[in-house]
């Protein structure tokens, strides 16, 4: 053939360049800030992992298992992972799926997340230090293989979701797994404690080494030949994952999947012949039933709400069971906070229909209440009754209407005030669970709801403390008031700012001339700011705050903490110098871009 793709390594290079170019081009304004924040947070965790390897080596496999679970559940939580390089882009290249997949893997590894994870995995050679130079060597090799394995596991899961979530059942299944996983993360300690605390140490130690994240530790601890065998086996697993990914991607790019449409039987139920909010609710209810993203998010919310109290039953603690329905309301509100963003530019129809904004907002509230309300009420009543926690009745009865109303009000208000633009549904690619929205922004919106919805129930909670029956009435009143009032603000806002929302979704955020980004800085400052963000944590945390804590607590282990290796007289000055240096670098990185936005940009040159 005359037009074969360039050789493998060259293709990988091109893919990495493309990935970096995409990242560079998206590094503007808020995106850059999000990235820096994410990388800084990630670096903190990465350093924390190295600290674990130094201070509490027994917990290193467990810590690495947490990183692995991040790679597994991250893509599910944030809707399919951010695929900067989508396989669809390369579907017309004359090359085998295997070659394209290998190149895509190279591209996928050239992001901030793998880089941060690699730093975390440097905990392996640090751990290997205890076993001599060979341990360091094996640790280094294992860090690489573990990183590739984690990236591959994540990609294969994304590919599996993209290919097999094509029905309500599979979407709900992914949701239930996700919800259970979140519940285990928050309350998984309960069954572990119930199973006998320290007795479980032995099997849990084996478990965390059997996971792919623990193979590196296992190899370091093993004798030479076995260590090499483990590493070789890991390489084999990578090859298998790569082959699986290639197969999945090859199927994905030729399957005409569009945004995940479940199959239907029979003719659709006729629309109710009514107008206003009720017809909008009828439309919205159909969207809840026909959109796999919504089904998955609902399943996540409800499974989390049900599993979390159940885990505590292992300790015979029934205290959370009455509140199952309330947890479900808050979680369901959090996953419904981007209603307008999820529908994309279809908003133009509402805007072009005279007076439809009010009907649309009220209809969405009504539909959400119909979807979440009955199930939440049932869970609350059944949970309180079954648990036999009689004291909980006023709380459940008072908070249920307060939270339902608060949720119904807040989701529409946030949907119009904090809209996160995504890809229009009909342009979404091979992943049915991805809305294409900026996950960082969507996640922070969800967190906002998680805080704000319970806040709307505070008045009811306060009154319940004073007088249970008055509390129930307060709950009903504040709930109705929140749903009515916040919804009113929402549709007023939609009437006045609907056009801006539409254009935000169509063209992205308007460029603000008066808000320069890091990319506009003079080059020496740009390098300085980036470097500061990248390494300021080093003096501040590992060389500053951590030795400070260790000195205060009187921990003897010197590790790699410079200050602790110095004569006692110099230890405190060194620690203080390191902390000051770290703060200074962060200050520089934050203040220099801010100075640029002051009226006289010449000042920074």
């Amino acid at each position: 053939m005359a037009h074969l793709l360039t050789s493998g390594p060259v293709a990988a290079q091109h893919m990495i360049r493309m990935r970096l170019a995409i990242m560079r081009n998206s590094l503007r304004g808020d995106n850059a800030a999000n990235l820096y924040a994410g990388v800084s947070g990630g670096l903190l965790l990465a350093f924390g992992t190295i600290a674990v390897a130094v201070l509490w080596p027994a917990y290193l496999p467990l810590t690495l298992a947490v990183w692995l679970s991040g790679w597994i559940f991250g893509p599910i939580f944030i809707g399919g992972g951010s695929e900067a390089l989508r396989p669809e882009y390369f579907s017309m290249l004359p090359a085998t799926p295997g070659r394209i997949t290998t190149a895509l893997l190279a591209g996928a590894s050239a992001g901030p997340a793998p880089a941060v994870n690699l730093i975390a995995l440097l905990s392996l050679p640090v751990y290997g230090w205890r076993f001599g130079p060979a341990g360091v060597l094996i640790g280094l090799a294992a860090a690489l293989t573990t990183l590739i394995t984690m990236v591959m596991v994540s990609r294969v899961i994304v590919a599996l979701i993209g290919l097999f979530v094509r029905s309500r059942v599979t979407a709900a299944a992914v949701g239930i797994v996700t919800g259970t996983a979140i519940a285990l993360c928050s309350n998984g300690w309960a069954p572990v404690a119930a199973l006998g605390g320290t007795d479980t140490a032995a099997w849990s130690q084996i478990l965390v080494r059997v996971l792919p994240s623990g193979w590196g530790v296992a190899a370091i601890e093993a004798p030479w030949p076995l260590a090499l065998a483990v590493l070789a086996a890991n390489a084999g697993v990578i090859a298998l994952l790569l082959a699986a990914w290639a197969g999945l991607l090859a199927r994905r790019v030729v399957s005409a999947a569009r945004g995940g449409v479940p199959s239907r039987r029979g003719t659709p139920r006729p629309f109710p012949t009514t107008g206003g909010a009720r017809i909008a609710a009828a439309k919205e209810l159909r969207a809840w039933w026909r959109d796999l993203v919504r089904i998955q998010l609902l399943a996540t919310a409800f499974s989390y709400a049900i599993v979390t109290p159940l885990l505590l039953l292992a300790l015979d603690a029934w205290i959370m069971v009455p509140f199952t329905g309330l947890i479900a309301i808050v979680m369901a509100a959090a996953s419904s906070a981007n209603l307008y963003g999820a529908d994309g530019t279809a908003l133009w129809l509402t805007l072009m229909t005279p007076g439809a904004e009010r009907a649309d907002v009220r209809g969405r509230q009504l539909a959400w209440l119909l979807v979440v309300g009955p199930a939440a009420a049932l869970l609350s009543l059944a949970g309180t009754r079954v648990s036999g926690q009689a004291w909980a009745w006023p709380w459940v009865l008072g908070l249920l209407p307060a939270l339902l109303g608060g949720g119904a009000g807040l989701i529409v208000l946030l949907a119009v005030t904090s809209l996160v633009p995504g890809t229009d549904p009909h342009k979404r690619g091979g992943n049915p669970l991805s809305t294409g929205a900026d996950e960082t922004a969507e996640t922070s919106l969800a967190w906002l709801v998680l805080v704000a919805v319970p806040a709307t129930a505070l008045p009811a909670a306060g009154v319940i403390l004073l007088n249970p029956w008055a509390g129930i009435i307060t709950g009903v009143l504040t709930g109705a008031l929140s749903a009515w009032g916040l919804g009113r603000i929402a549709y007023r806002r939609l009437e006045s700012h609907g056009i801006d929302l539409l254009n935000l979704m169509k063209h992205g955020p308007a460029p603000q001339a008066d808000k320069p980004t890091t990319a506009d800085l003079p080059i020496q400052h740009r390098i300085g700011v980036t470097m500061s963000y990248a390494i300021a944590w080093l003096p501040l945390f590992p060389q500053g705050l951590v030795p400070m804590v260790m000195k205060i607590l009187g921990i003897e282990d010197r590790g790699w903490f410079l200050a602790l290796h110095l004569p006692p007289v110099w230890q405190w000055p060194t620690i203080i110098f390191m902390i000051a240096l770290g703060l200074l670098m962060y200050g520089y990185a934050i203040l220099i871009p801010m100075r640029l936005s002051s009226p006289s940009p010449a000042a920074t040159r």
Binding site: D343, M352, T353, D500
Partner: protein, 255 residues
């Protein structure tokens, strides 16, 4: 009070910049009532941006737009009652079927249920979308999306139709149907604005033409005045100051 003698659409000094790029720069257009108006221009000339600002889907940086004398940005609700719009590339309620979309939007506009049902039936049948009764809009082909968009624009029997590239990706048979529908609409007093870069089509359908290039109006008026003695295509190439390329370079392709 708007009368029938007011132009169907008048834009006064519309201007829109995206970042540093001035997409639309001081556009003045008058579309007489009852005319079939073609808005033509090269790719990226600002046709879609102009139409979006004229119907109230994009807030202009400067200038205003009137529909039958009603200011689009002051009396938005009244203006929107007068027009049917087919915007380019905007989403629809993706998880409804074509009939559900029409029913939903018709009822939301306050039409009687019986009227909505009858009109939806007729539109789906004429535009040949009736057979796709169980298909959600998200599964529609590009041509089907255009047709359901056109049905939405027609549903409430507006006085002015603003259609952005209505014939793009539509098959020849459906295109002929749409042409017939639009001609009937115009013949009975309705006003139509279409944007297109197919000159032959504009020449065949329209009685008025506006030519936009680089965000500015370079010619506007009755078709005969704009095209002069030659074809509209010749006049267009002349007006936008472009010479047709393609004869130079690319030696590797033709050798």
């Amino acid at each position: 009070m708007p009368t029938h003698r007011e132009p169907a659409l008048r834009t006064i000094g519309l201007r829109k910049a995206f970042g540093d790029h001035l997409a639309v720069d001081d556009i003045h257009l008058t579309v007489p009532a009852g005319s079939f108006y073609g808005l033509v221009g090269p790719n990226g000339a600002g046709k879609t941006t102009t139409l979006a600002m004229a119907v109230g889907l994009l807030r202009p940086d400067a200038g205003s737009a009137e529909i039958f004398g009603v200011d689009v940005w002051r009396d938005t609700v009244q203006a929107k009652g007068l027009i049917g719009v087919l915007p380019d590339g905007n989403a629809m309620p993706e998880r409804l079927t074509g009939r559900e979309v029409l029913t939903y939007l018709g009822l939301l506009r306050g039409l009687q249920p019986a009227v909505v049902a009858e009109r939806a039936d007729e539109l789906l049948q004429i535009l040949e979308l009736g057979s796709a009764e169980r298909t959600l809009v998200i599964e529609y082909s590009t041509g089907m999306r255009k047709k359901i968009g056109l049905a939405v624009a027609l549903l409430h029997a507006p006085r002015l139709l603003v259609l952005d590239e209505p014939f793009e990706a539509v098959d020849p048979v459906s295109a002929a149907t749409i042409r017939t529908i639009l001609r009937r609409f115009a013949a009975n007093g309705g006003s139509v604005i279409i944007s297109s870069h197919v000159m032959a089509l504009v020449e065949q359908l329209c009685d008025h033409v506006g030519v936009i290039s680089d965000g500015r109006v370079v010619a506007a008026g009755p078709l005969a005045d704009v095209r002069g003695a030659g074809s509209l295509e010749d006049a267009f190439v002349d007006l936008v100051g472009a010479r047709t390329g393609g004869t130079e370079g690319l030696a590797w392709l033709t050798s």
